[in-house]
């Protein structure tokens, strides 16, 4: 059996410092077991005999970092997560984007920045479809470009496959939407091609440079910054602000806020929902 020496307290502190400085992931002093339970598989895979060697290996090979981050974070997600966010989209943001499109803007670009297995991007694609039909402007739906990215290659693979089991499909999705947008296949639910085609998925690490992704009208950055230390959050929101067009909007998870952070956004609210409009200098 391949094995690795148990993690010592000294090694834990070294790895904890490294995780916060290079991945922004903050561990509490009593979370030593998390390092050992989540990272042992990777440590053994790369042939480390102990966690000091593992520590040296991740410094020497930064390409291992996305694997580390993936192992330390969860992929949990739901359809239409947080009602208030989707009400804001339906009642405020989509009408604003429709106006922009009608006024001649060629397309609206949206980024689901930690898309996990696709529910966030696909929820938006479904909502856009519904709202366009309600307003009798179905052709506008095709002018939304939705990009989903995640650090987990497995989550991206599952997002592209767009097939869900009955438990996963029920988390946040109404029966009506399920019947309308999915095809049932032997107890699993396959999202229809017309909605699948609206979302493109790419592997991407939020620690990297965002410029190649281009400029967006709307960014979902939900339930991912929760893992990051304050400095990393500020850098992340600063980088998102740069990729937003003037008037561009960022959405956070319902339990998240920019409170006490230095970030170039103005708080806006609609009902119980908060959203964040970028402040462009100059």
């Amino acid at each position: 059996m391949n094995a690795i020496k148990p993690l010592s307290q000294k090694e834990f502190l070294k790895i904890r410092d490294l995780l916060v400085s290079v991945c922004g992931i903050e561990l509490k002093p009593d979370q030593d077991y998390l390092v050992e339970t989540r990272l042992t598989e990777l440590a053994i895979e790369i042939g480390a005999a102990d966690f000091s060697e593992f520590h040296r290996a991740i410094i020497a090979e930064p390409e291992l970092l996305p694997r580390v981050v993936d192992l330390m974070t969860t992929n949990e997600t739901l359809w239409f997560r947080d009602d208030s966010c989707w009400n804001t989209l339906r009642e405020v943001l989509l009408p604003k984007f429709f106006k922009q499109l009608e006024a001649g803007q060629p397309k609206i670009r949206v980024w689901s920045a930690a898309s996990s297995t696709g529910q966030e991007g696909y929820s938006l694609a479904m909502l856009i479809q519904e709202e366009c039909e309600k307003l009798a402007v179905p052709s506008l739906a095709e002018r939304f470009e939705i990009l989903g990215t995640d650090i987990s290659t497995a989550a991206i693979f599952l997002g592209r496959a767009a097939r869900y089991d009955s438990f996963t499909i029920s988390r946040g999705l109404s029966q009506e939407r399920r019947d309308r947008f999915f095809e049932s296949q032997g107890g699993t639910f396959q999202l229809k091609q017309s909605i699948r085609d609206r979302v493109e998925f790419k592997h991407f690490n939020l620690m990297d440079n965002f410029s190649p992704l281009g400029i967006f009208d709307l960014v979902f950055c939900r339930n991912v910054a929760i893992y990051f230390a304050k400095d990393f959050k500020e850098q992340l929101f600063e980088k998102i602000a740069k990729q937003l067009c003037p008037g561009g909007i960022m959405l956070l998870g319902a339990t998240e806020s920019l409170f006490s952070l230095n970030a170039p956004f103005a708080n806006r609210s609609h009902g119980n929902g908060l959203y964040y409009e970028v402040i462009k200098k100059g």
Binding site: Y33, T37, T40, E41, N75, A154, F157, D165, T168
Partner: protein, 124 residues
């Protein structure tokens, strides 16, 4: 097609895991205890075990130890999927050689992502 054996004494849990895995193309087998699992392993070549810890009779941890020490089975990857979330138990499992440990309640996203990685499915 890869074969996955789910070992759990709760038939409803086996059904939930079975359904979650069904979205990908796998041959999925089930066993309700260690003895049934051994019987399956004797006649079928299995690519991955999804193993509960607390089961009547031989528990999942002891089953893992006996498979680990048997050259015929030692290379089968194991994902331990268990309600056992005490720090000491988790460390005991990892130190005994269980590489992948998920606690119940689990999310299907996390289970599937693990399975995809462990089986090194072609992600392109």
């Amino acid at each position: 097609m890869k074969t996955i054996l789910i070992i759990d004494d709760s038939s409803s849990l086996r059904r939930i895991v079975h359904e979650a895995l069904n979205i990908l193309q796998f041959n999925i087998l089930e066993a309700g205890n260690a003895e049934e699992a051994m019987a399956v392993l004797k006649v079928t070549s299995v690519d991955l075990l999804i193993l509960d810890w607390h089961m009547p009779g031989m528990d999942g941890f002891d089953l893992f130890l006996s498979l680990r020490d048997n050259p015929q089975y030692t290379n089968i990857p194991v994902i331990m999927l268990t309600a056992e979330d005490r720090k000491d138990s988790m460390l005991k499992a990892i130190r005994a050689g269980i590489r992948h440990y998920l606690t119940k309640p689990f999310t299907h996203e996390d289970l599937l992502a693990r399975v995809v990685q462990v089986l090194k499915l072609d992600l392109s």
